[in-house]
Symmetry: C2
């Protein structure tokens, strides 16, 4: 038993991911068959916090493999402005660890009332969110006690990836389903590669501002690592897609500015070498999270990933060294990452 | 003629907004009639930078008044992953000051190829974006030379608001159209209320981190003010919807942390007094942008807005003191807000 709940839950991820794959395929396939029959025009996802980052992953996942555009719902339209958009031809997915947040429940309730397809992805199959949704995928992650979500986030990504593969008409040979089976071991390998993170994080002790950059599938990873850093270290860690970053925020990078570049191999990281040129010109301090030696070799701190893993699943693996990094940085700064000040596990926003 | 291009363009906004209202109603009504005949299931918007913040405004605007859900497109799905989502039943809007960005042009081109409705909102009606779109609304803002967009942003918001009113079946009496006519004078009044911003901004000289908070319609305003601050002062200014902020990032606020609260009157600001309680408990330094004396009175620095302006149009007005604030903060920090380091006016991302 790990001394820290957060550390224990980070290390538990390979087995929790494996449990999801062992237990939830029948449920995922049932949901996929029903969604296929419904034939949605598009997907909207209602989520907040880490679950919202899972929704960003879904945007690339269903866009790239299922030709379905994914929009992130603005729940306050319903709860603050009492205005219900048309969503009868959409698949509405509520993603929430606890399944409690009233605004997420309100969006899914309205979608179902309009005759849309509805799905809950939650760690509590008896939660309000699960009860109002037509379908539910249980995250089977076990109780999560650390305030900063880790294992429920990676299982949310896995649930979405399984659903995308099950919906994929081009995956009759099951290539994507077989790749999914590799996830737990890849996460185990990523954890094993975290030996230098603790010492490395100490070199960034006292830094109060960070940028976290990625593009495509791993934009979600950048957002989630930034959120973990903010929750545990209270640093200002701002995520950007590389493309948006070049449209303005690059102006704030000057000498010594720490920038974490998330760059698993794949089309999403094609622009990374040019980005590194620009960051070097401004003498930024680069932290690289990648499986590519060329990229890792240009960083002050290298967070290595297992090589040869498919990009569409890489967000499930790449976030893990980022969780470890956030935890180590909190400790280096004298914070207790298990007890973020002023946060509770379940936040109810209406 | 103002000495600074940025200052000149900020001050030009009342007349540029008035020009939009005088010249573009016929074009907006033509576009609205065509969209009404098409009857889209939903709207997707392709945009980057400031234009992306205009898209966030559109999410509340078309959601609250036209029952249309708005999703922000992920252009790199098409340009990086070569994957086209189904968008034949959507209205796809490309928003871009220059109309040049290849990824935005690519999304609109594909949407039109699939038979979807397409609209360009751009300051250059001869740009590639305007040429590939079925419809175009010209921003008629005149040449914008400052790198940080100001008058094209407020005219983008106005163009979207005019379109929403023109599409609104419940606005037969024209109440919303009449409210739109009040925008230029309200912006003029907001500018006139900026007398204390310069002195006030000097009190925040040297601060490197800011949070910018809002909810609902003015979440876009928070994002845009944060972007202006980053572009001109190089500070880490991070925007949050109040609801998302309470789900985690609140942990980073400690004594002396500067927080700008954007709170024009309306349902979006109902939670603001409770937020201010939490910020006071943590001894944050509060800057308030509001027309509500109760809220302004609790702030170290008050940025006043004209009272009695309808919330759905308030983002066009509220951003203006935020632009002035960003410019003054840059000057207080010894920066030249007209020449952000390393930025060019047109950024081409593929």
């Amino acid at each position: 038993m790990a001394a820290s709940a957060l550390q224990g839950e980070i290390e538990e991820q390979p087995s929790v991911l494996a449990r999801m794959l062992e237990e939830q395929w029948p449920s995922v396939r049932r949901v996929a068959n029903s969604i296929r029959a419904f034939a949605p025009e598009w997907i909207q996802i209602a989520a907040r916090g880490s679950s919202d980052n899972a929704a960003r992953y879904a945007q690339y996942l269903f866009g790239a493999y299922n030709r379905l555009a994914v929009g992130l719902a603005a729940p306050s339209l319903l709860t603050v402005y009492q205005s219900a958009c048309r969503m009868g031809r959409a698949l509405t997915i509520g993603v929430s660890q606890s399944g409690q947040s009233p605004d997420i429940v309100a969006v899914v309730t309205e979608a179902r009332r309009q005759g849309g397809a509805t799905l809950a992805i939650t760690n509590d199959p008896n939660s309000p969110l699960a009860r109002v949704s037509e379908h539910c995928i249980d995250l089977v992650a076990g109780r999560e006690t650390a305030v900063a979500a880790t294992k429920t986030y990676t299982n949310q990504l896995l649930a979405l990836a399984m659903l995308s593969a099950a919906l994929d008409d081009d995956d009759e040979a099951g290539a994507r389903v077989r790749q999914l089976a590799l996830v737990p071991d890849a996460v185990r390998a990523a954890l094993a590669g975290c030996g230098l993170v603790n010492a490395g994080s100490r070199r960034f002790r006292g830094a109060t501002r960070f940028l976290i950059l990625a593009r495509g599938f791993n934009y979600a990873t950048a957002c989630e690592i930034a959120l973990k850093m903010k929750e545990t270290s209270y640093v200002a860690a701002e995520p950007y897609s590389v493309a948006d970053f070049l449209h303005g925020p690059i102006a704030m990078v000057d000498e010594g500015f720490p920038v974490l570049v998330v760059a698993p191999a794949g089309p999403g990281s094609i622009g990374i070498p040019v980005l590194l040129d620009l960051l070097e010109l401004r003498r930024a301090r680069v932290i690289a999270l990648s499986d590519q030696p060329d990229i890792l070799g240009r960083a002050e701190l290298a967070l290595p990933l297992p090589q040869g893993f498919p990009e569409w699943l890489s967000p499930i693996v790449a976030v893990v060294p980022g969780q470890v990094w956030a935890r180590c940085l909190a400790l280096a700064n004298g914070q207790d990452p298990d007890r973020p000040r002023g946060l509770t596990k379940v936040t109810l926003t209406a």
